[in-house]
């Protein structure tokens, strides 16, 4: 079957999709967006977390056919998504999420230098993960970033318990989570400082 939907602001069309394919498979194998990771395929690890119409979901458990006409944001589009959100007043007002209109105005751009990642503009949560040492093997990182970014959008000043709850669907085997907590706290603090500066 054919599936049309929007990924990171760009209309996408996937052809010859087998009906049992997941959104994750379509993203990774048909659309060249392997950032969302396949680690369990049963909703028990969060590595494949994407936003579906703004809501974090496990893309391995969404049938490809179910995303027809819908909006998906993956880790590849996270920086642009955050930038767009910033440009529209962030979420401190409580008006969270990206409107369809806003989503249509932007698109994920390829990194300037895909070899090194140099010069790539990152979202605050992405930068914080690097700075805090929250990345080791990095396989859980894309899913955690999508989940953490969405939490900070809803809850800009989370307590540790809030962070833990929001990220309790994302397994990490390398870090022991401590530096992931550090990263989310760091992103929240930077966001707050930025808010004050404005």
């Amino acid at each position: 079957m054919r599936v049309n939907f929007t990924v990171n602001g760009r209309p996408q069309e996937a052809d010859d999709v087998w009906e049992g394919e997941s959104l994750l498979y379509v993203l990774r194998e048909r659309l060249g967006l392997p950032g969302s990771k396949n680690a369990c395929e049963q909703g028990e690890c969060g590595s494949c977390t994407v936003r579906l119409d703004g809501v974090p979901v496990c893309s391995c458990l969404v049938a490809a056919g179910q995303v027809e006409g819908r909006e998906v944001v993956t880790v590849e589009g996270l920086a642009e998504y955050a930038k767009e959100r910033e440009a529209h007043g962030g979420c401190a007002s409580g008006a969270c999420g990206t409107s369809v209109d806003a989503a249509k105005r932007w698109e994920a751009k390829p990194a300037q230098d895909s070899q090194t990642g140099e010069g790539v503009e990152l979202s605050p949560i992405q930068q914080a993960f690097i700075d805090a040492g929250a990345v080791q093997c990095g396989f859980c990182t894309p899913g955690l970033l999508v989940a953490a970014d969405e939490m900070l959008e809803r809850n800009p000043s989370p307590t540790d318990a809030d962070i833990r709850e929001a990220l309790s669907g994302n397994l990490c085997r390398c870090t022991g989570y401590e530096k992931i907590l550090d990263a989310v706290r760091l992103a929240a603090a930077r966001q707050e400082r930025q808010g004050e500066a404005v």
């Binding site: 997941s22 395929e41 969060g46 496990c58 049938a63 056919g65 669907g169 994302n170």
Partner: protein
């Protein structure tokens, strides 16, 4: 495999009538696991995501009409006052990502004894509104579960709405798992006080072939509360009553040994949860400060 994408409830019913073997998929949190792991290759997948009415809920006088696909996150956030037990149960479902997709309809459709919503629905009292092109009918929750992963649905029927009684008293829900988040129930228990009818109802999950009520325990407690005038005097329930209630809840369980836990442990844990929840709900009923939504 064919992927059917009805745009409306009527189309969905027509599709199900035409293809009774079609497997409905909404949140996908059960069905996709089975497909990903090659446990199931249905001829047809019937996508219900475009059927808006399944994602709606309505708070009425007596009941909450809860669309089968209302995600658990929405129940947690929006129905804590009306459906405190179910809201607590929703909060224990898997992970935030799963709670954003899964709904009560999926739990009922799969009818796994480990489904988190069942004990809360049993305790609150609910009716499942199912429909086919032949018409609709209401199945009382007590009659809904017919066997291990079997329910009272006919092949051409779909679950439309769950009518859950609005809480008229405190409700609680706990589940035991061997991890502090994202865990399948080893066993679960739900308790609802119904001061209007001066009754209590229970629900037990993962400790019998189907979700069940501990009816003898309910009858015992109903009688004991009545006899002691507890509903009126609001006295602390005596430890012996609480113990007897807990023991009867344990006895109602008919669990098995499996990789998640032993039968003996399940029976034990059901009793502990029953005793604790009786304490929590009764304290709440006595107005000792806890909110209706419980503590979570």
């Amino acid at each position: 495999m064919d992927f059917l994408r009805p745009a409306s409830w009527e189309e969905a019913l027509a599709a199900k009538a035409e293809h009774p073997t079609a497997v409905p998929i909404a949140g996908g949190t059960d069905v996709m696991v089975e497909i990903n792991f090659d446990h199931r290759r249905p001829e047809y997948l019937l996508d219900l995501n475009r059927v808006e009415l399944l994602r709606e809920w309505e708070v009425g006088e007596e009941n909450v009409r809860l669309g089968a696909s209302v995600p658990y996150t929405q129940i947690m956030e929006n129905l804590r006052a009306e459906l405190p037990g179910l809201a607590l149960a929703s909060h224990t479902v898997a992970s935030p990502q799963i709670r954003n997709r899964g709904g009560v309809g999926g739990n009922l459709g799969t009818a796994s004894p480990a489904g988190d919503a069942h004990p809360a629905l049993l305790a609150a009292g609910a009716e499942v509104e199912v429909e086919s092109v032949r018409g609709s009918r209401f199945i009382p929750i007590d009659e809904f579960y017919t066997g291990v992963k079997r329910n009272a649905l006919q092949p051409d029927e779909l679950i439309k709405t769950v009518h859950v009684k609005k809480a008229d008293g405190p409700q609680q829900y706990s589940k035991v798992g061997t991890r502090n988040a994202m865990v399948i129930a080893v066993c679960a228990f739900g308790l609802a006080l119904h001061p209007e009818t001066r009754t209590v109802r229970t629900g037990i999950g993962s400790a019998a072939p189907t979700p069940i009520r501990a009816k003898e325990a309910e009858a015992f407690l109903n009688a004991a509360l009545e006899e002691g005038g507890f509903w009126d005097n609001g006295k602390i329930i005596t430890p012996s009553i609480a113990k007897q209630f807990a023991d009867l809840c344990s006895a109602a369980a008919n669990p098995i040994d499996d990789v998640r836990g032993t039968a003996k442990y399940r029976r034990h844990a059901v009793g502990i949860m029953a005793r604790r929840q009786l304490g929590w709900t009764w304290e709440q009923y006595r107005g000792a400060g806890r909110t209706l939504e419980g503590a979570a």
